[in-house]
């Protein structure tokens, strides 16, 4: 016999089914996102080596981080910002110019697009290894090519902090310009064709059209692209662990890889386990990233107001 449920029980059944359907996601969120954040916040106030009882030490982990003993961490912060801004200075303009060309009516554009995006498909860690050997001191292809053109070709790329940093930037640009190009292309496709036609009639050449129409009209997409790329670069970790592991002498160590080592590879840092200090640096790192995000949103918001 079929009973007709009342609207009330139907509604309740729908609630229950909805809750059941999101239950696993909510539990996952609580356990894997919210709980770990709480853990980090709490243990940043403790001295804890993972074995003996944690001891409450108040702000002393933070005092240490901001004191002379924290110099190494701040060095990694500086490295990270140098890396991020250095590579974005090349990556973003390159992506934008390529998007502008490839979004046009040029022959073979889908071939170019496919090739440029290809590196984004690959593992960051594995790519780091590819570049490590490409830039090898003795048998690396880059040095060989330099020799072919009559250079000395004996550059020891990974013995100098500056050169190693440049190689990391090159690898990162190589991997990411394609994806940013795609983002810019979606932005370009939303610019009305009539604007270009009108400008052409008014006698603007292609360079003028690029700077007077494309760049301003692309502002919202650019903000998103730069934001994504900036945060992604500040979070760099796999690339460095695979390629240089921070060498030489921490000159290519980044915020995230340093914090990772405090928790999992403290022997590489020559220190004993101190998860409380690691937690404090995690908090500081998260705050730095959030502040960068907020400043960025603030600045670009003002920027777009002006253009409107």
């Amino acid at each position: 016999m079929i009973t007709t449920p009342t609207p009330h029980t139907l509604k309740r059944r729908e609630y229950l089914q909805s809750y059941a359907m999101i239950a696993i996601s909510v539990i996952g969120l609580a356990l894997l996102v919210i709980y770990p954040l709480g853990w980090i916040l709490r243990f940043s106030l403790y001295r804890y080596d993972g074995i003996s009882e944690p001891i409450y030490v108040g702000m002393s982990n933070f005092i240490r981080a901001f004191g002379a003993n924290g110099a190494r961490y701040w060095q990694t912060v500086r490295n990270t910002f140098v890396f991020a801004f250095g590579k974005l200075l090349v990556e973003i303009p390159l992506a934008l110019v390529l998007a502008y060309i490839v979004a046009g009516k040029i022959k073979g554009r889908s071939f170019f697009r496919t090739v440029y995006f290809l590196p984004s498909m690959l593992s960051v860690a594995v790519m780091g290894i590819m570049f490590y050997y490409l830039f090898g001191s003795y048998s690396g292809a880059i040095n060989e090519i330099v020799r072919m053109f009559g250079g000395a070709g004996n550059t020891r790329w990974f013995s100098s902090g500056t050169l190693a940093m440049i190689v990391i930037m090159i690898a990162s640009v190589w991997q990411n310009f394609g994806i940013n190009m795609l983002f810019f292309m979606t932005g370009l496709q939303s610019i009305p064709e009539e604007l270009y036609e009108a400008a052409t009639i008014d006698g603007a050449n292609s360079v003028q059209r690029f700077f007077r129409i494309t760049i301003p009209m692309l502002a919202p997409v650019s903000q998103m692209v730069i934001m994504n790329a900036l945060l992604g670069s500040l979070k760099v970790v796999d690339l460095v662990l695979a390629m240089t592991n921070g060498a030489p002498n921490f000159q290519t160590e980044m915020m995230m890889s340093y914090v990772y080592k405090l928790f999992f590879a403290s022997t590489q840092l020559g220190t004993a386990n101190n998860f409380g200090y690691g937690a404090a640096l995690s908090v500081i790192t998260a705050v730095i990233l959030t502040v960068v995000t907020l400043i960025y949103l603030r600045v670009t918001h003002k920027g777009s107001e002006i253009h409107d």
């Binding site: 170019f112 690959l122 796999d238």
Partner: protein, 293 residues
Amino acid sequence: MNKKQHWSQVFLYLFLIAIVVITLVPLLYTVSASFKPNTEIMQGGAHLWPKDPTLQNYIDAWEMGSSGGRGVSRRAVNFADYTVNSLIMSTITMIGTLILTSMTAYAFQRGQFPGRQFLYWTFLSTMFISAGSVTIYPIIQLAAKVDLNNLYGAAIVQVFLTGAANLFLTVGYLRTISKEIDESAKIDGCSFFQTYLRIILPLSKPIMATIALMSFRAAWNAYLMPMVFTLGKTSQYPLTVGIVALKNFGGEGASQYNLLMAGTMFSIMPMITIYLIMNKYFVSGITAGAVKG
């Protein structure tokens, strides 16, 4: 076309082709090195074509490096295991992501339960909490308590940590499916869940295909999370972890260069193949996320 335009066209193509060369050369060198005997690699060489091409590197890397050189321990290089592990992990992550994302997105987009807005915004805000990898330690501690500090744990964790972006994407897609379809299903006696299973899920195939590819790729390429989860368990290493371990802790380092390059090929060739076949899905998935994100 006048002469000036003609030359600017030529210049444009030279530029595009130069970037193509720069993009492909590192990959071509890896391909070429994977076919070179180790001695040839060690001598160095900018020549792309191997003088004495061999498949031995692949065989050695695949069969536990049995004749791969004096310094190679049998356990250290087993790319057959690593490949299987990568496949297991990526498949679990992909299936988990598909089930969870589609169900959660449907409940949030179509459901009308109390607390819906609050929960949805909590999910989305996790996308903007810039904690990144700094919370790995508490996560692995938690996993260890339930014996999931292994390959399977790594697969599960990756489902949840990339969840918010996929959720956002799928909710956006479901919004484009007319609600009248749900209504008629309801009249036919479908419950909320049945509507999902019989109507919405089949209709969301395109976005599911994109999410399947993206989550598989993310897991296949992941390094830090699986590395921490399989720490000290060499037999559970996925490819990325195995390759980096071979480079960093391989003992004789460069003497295993040939195995390393063959191993790298095991990691990148499947991705390149999938990409070339299904490149439309990847591109649409990434750009859709960009526009709506």
